[in-house]
């Protein structure tokens, strides 16, 4: 964990969170005991294929899931306030949390704006409550801060008159106006012109750094992750499989799924070598997965991978959930609902590094 985490409560703490969607064909489990911690001011990437549950986790932070989502266990709290689990509040408390602590940046920036309202009015409505809200100049300042030129024209515009990049800058300005403590950005550059993606991401990260706002970046884009984030959490089948400092995780991926993701990256290929795709398809879970969700696609699966759930283990400076790397304390045959999950420790890490080396 990075230094600034300190002793303060993390801005996001999810523990064994289980969320299911009830459908006509029975429940679909989207989060299967997902565990994630984001410290104050941290820039964290959450990566995984579509369907891995990362958007569900992102929206769950503000209890903004679709109406067919069912909470089925675990805890989630934002800045110490419970969102799922005992003491979770709805109504006014939840709205206060959304207003004061959380902010979201969405995938499609134009669709996230009201199509029949000028940007000025939308900025006012999204701004801080009270007198300032009527103050047009502060809306203009906010737009200036996100690098928009010709702010008066943008303020006069309707969303359809803006490009995707401009609209996303407006989205970022709106999200950061209330000085949130945690910003959830779900594929914020997916709908933006490829040439502008780096710019938008730079802006998002630097604005969050300036404000000391933690950023949870949900993305497929590992290049961007490598460049901008301190921590990375790799998600598969509704739970974290590998979580740790970005440089170490991407530099030396250890979970077979992370390894496959990194190998599938364009740009990592060498002449004469095939660009690898991950074989098979991501799972659709109808209940808790008894073993490791990646086992059916895993090239190195052990006999017990499909049936026994691996425990979290501290390995090489990261948290790893894999039978191939059982770690210091983790027992490969541990029960799936093991309560006291071991966390990474320095001692454990050194120990495991040696063990890893020996194993190779």
């Amino acid at each position: 964990m990075s230094a600034e985490t300190g002793s303060a409560a993390p801005v996001l703490a999810a523990t064994d969170l289980v969320i299911e969607y009830s459908t006509r064909n029975g429940p679909i489990r989207s989060l299967d005991q997902a565990t994630l911690t984001v410290g104050s001011g941290q820039i964290v990437a959450l990566v995984g294929e579509s369907g891995s549950g990362k958007s569900t986790l992102g929206m769950a932070t503000g209890r903004l899931l679709a109406s067919n989502a069912v909470y089925a266990g675990g805890l989630l709290s934002v800045a110490g306030r419970p969102v799922y689990g005992p003491g979770a509040q709805g109504g006014e408390g939840l709205r206060a949390l959304r207003r004061e602590v959380l902010a979201f940046v969405f995938q499609n920036p134009v669709a996230a704006l009201n199509p029949t309202m000028r940007i000025r009015r939308q900025m006012e409505l999204a701004g801080p409550a009270g007198r300032e809200a009527r103050d047009g100049s502060s809306a203009a300042e906010a737009l200036g801060e996100v690098g928009l030129t010709d702010v008066p024209r943008v303020l006069r515009s309707y969303p359809h008159e803006l490009s995707g990049g401009m609209a996303q800058r407006v989205g970022i300005a709106m999200a950061l106006r209330r000085r949130p403590r945690l910003l959830i950005a779900d594929e914020p550059t997916a709908a933006v012109d490829a040439t502008l993606r780096a710019q938008i991401l730079n802006l998002l990260v630097s604005q969050c750094r300036d404000q000391g706002c933690a950023l949870l970046l949900l993305t497929h884009d590992l290049h961007a992750v490598a460049q901008h984030t301190e921590q990375i959490a790799v998600m598969y089948g509704g739970r974290m499989v590998e979580h740790g400092p970005t440089a170490e995780v991407l530099g030396r991926p250890m979970h077979p799924y992370t390894r496959a993701l990194v190998a599938a990256l364009p740009g990592e290929e060498r002449p004469g070598r095939r660009l690898e795709a991950i074989g098979g398809v991501p799972p659709v879970l109808h209940a808790g997965c008894p073993g490791c969700a990646f086992a059916p696609r895993c090239p190195d699966a052990l006999p017990n991978c499909r049936d026994v759930r691996p425990a979290d283990a501290a390995v090489a400076g990261r948290t790893l959930t894999c039978h191939l790397h059982p770690g210091e304390i983790g027992d490969p045959s541990a029960a799936p609902n093991d309560a006291g999950r071991p966390r990474a420790t320095e001692a454990g890490r050194r120990h495991l590094d040696k063990e890893q080396e020996a194993a190779r």
């Binding site: 959304r98 004061e100 902010a103 669709a111 199509p115 029949t116 409505l125 309707y158």
Partner: protein, 322 residues
């Protein structure tokens, strides 16, 4: 960019309206003259001699080529002369002036009833969570839409006359003569004519509200911690109004057809009743004149609706929708 785009949009609508009116004039003229059984057949009956029929045709200029008759008619209409009734010899415009207020009042009351009752009901159904609102609005909507006017109207006539329920089922009192009696005589006809529109507005409005609620910008507003009431006021109403305006414009067109049935059922001396009588009597001038005016009114209503879209939805002004 916005003002010139808006101007072009409105000008474009105007031109389209003018062209539509011209097409309607051609269609009405041809339809009226191509109906089997011409004016002499109807007036003189099947037993009349060919010579007498020819004389009658010549008297009204019906023996000339249709193209010439059409051009003559258009020339008169453009100078404000709608022609003279073949049946009564009265100018068509005089008949129009006498009958238009009746139809306009009927249509206006129906439209008002539709909007004033339909929009709140649609909102209520759209805002009520879960299946109850949707189920109720679907049930009310589809049953009200599937009952034809003449069935509903006949039922009302029967019930109110058989059991003397306090509202007159026929006879018309001019507004200037006795406003209260006028409204009482208009109540049942307007109700009959508005039920279809009411159902249309409730269904469309409910679905529009529900669809708007599931759009990403509403999710974004809720994610910012805005109250559901604020979100509805700021972000839902205007967006949901767009499809409702569309069906209201369609309904305004339907009112013209519905008026034919309702005016006959409740013996209202309106335009629609006159058109029906004129068709039966092959009174070409009256049919042409009245239908052309009705078409002009219809086109004007649609133009108004188009302008209203342009005001409500900035994307339409700019020329790209959705």
């Amino acid at each position: 960019m916005a003002p010139s785009g808006g101007l072009r949009y409105f000008a474009g609508r105007l031109v389209t309206g003018a062209v539509t009116l011209w097409v309607v004039s051609v269609l009405v003229f041809s339809a009226v003259h191509l109906v089997p059984g011409g004016y002499p057949d109807i007036v003189l009956g099947p037993a009349s001699s060919p010579q007498v029929r020819e004389a009658l045709r010549a008297e009204f200029g019906l023996d000339r080529p249709l193209v010439l008759q059409y051009l003559e008619w258009v020339r008169h209409v453009l100078t404000g002369d709608l022609g003279t009734s073949l049946g009564t010899g009265e100018p068509v415009s005089a008949q129009l002036m006498r009958r238009l207020p009746v139809t306009a009042e009927l249509a206006g009351l129906s439209l008002a009833l539709t909007v004033l009752a339909g929009v709140p009901l649609a909102l209520l159904a759209g805002l009520s969570r879960g299946r109850f609102g949707r189920g109720l609005s679907r049930l009310v909507g589809s049953s009200a839409m599937s009952v034809p006017d003449f069935v509903l109207g006949s039922l009302l006539v029967f019930l109110f006359s058989r059991f003397s329920l306090g509202l007159p089922v026929g006879g018309y009192v001019p507004l200037a003569e006795d406003p209260v009696a006028n409204l009482r005589s208009m109540a049942l006809p307007a109700l009959t004519l508005s039920v279809f529109g009411l159902a249309l507005v409730v269904r469309t409005g409910r679905d529009a509200v529900a669809a708007t609620f599931s759009s990403p910008h509403i999710a974004a507003a809720l994610a910012r911690g805005e109250r559901i009431g604020q979100v509805t006021r700021h972000h839902v109403l205007r967006n949901a109004a767009i499809p409702v305006l569309t069906v209201l414009a369609t309904y305004a067109g339907y009112l013209m057809g519905g008026a034919v049935i309702v005016e006959n059922l409740f013996s209202l001396p309106g335009v629609a009743q006159a058109v029906l009588n004129a068709i039966n009597g092959r009174d070409y001038a009256t049919v042409q004149g009245l239908v052309l005016v009705a078409a002009a009114v219809f086109i004007a209503i649609n133009l108004l609706a188009d302008f209203a879209y342009g005001v409500v939805d900035p994307r339409i002004r700019a020329g790209h929708r959705g």
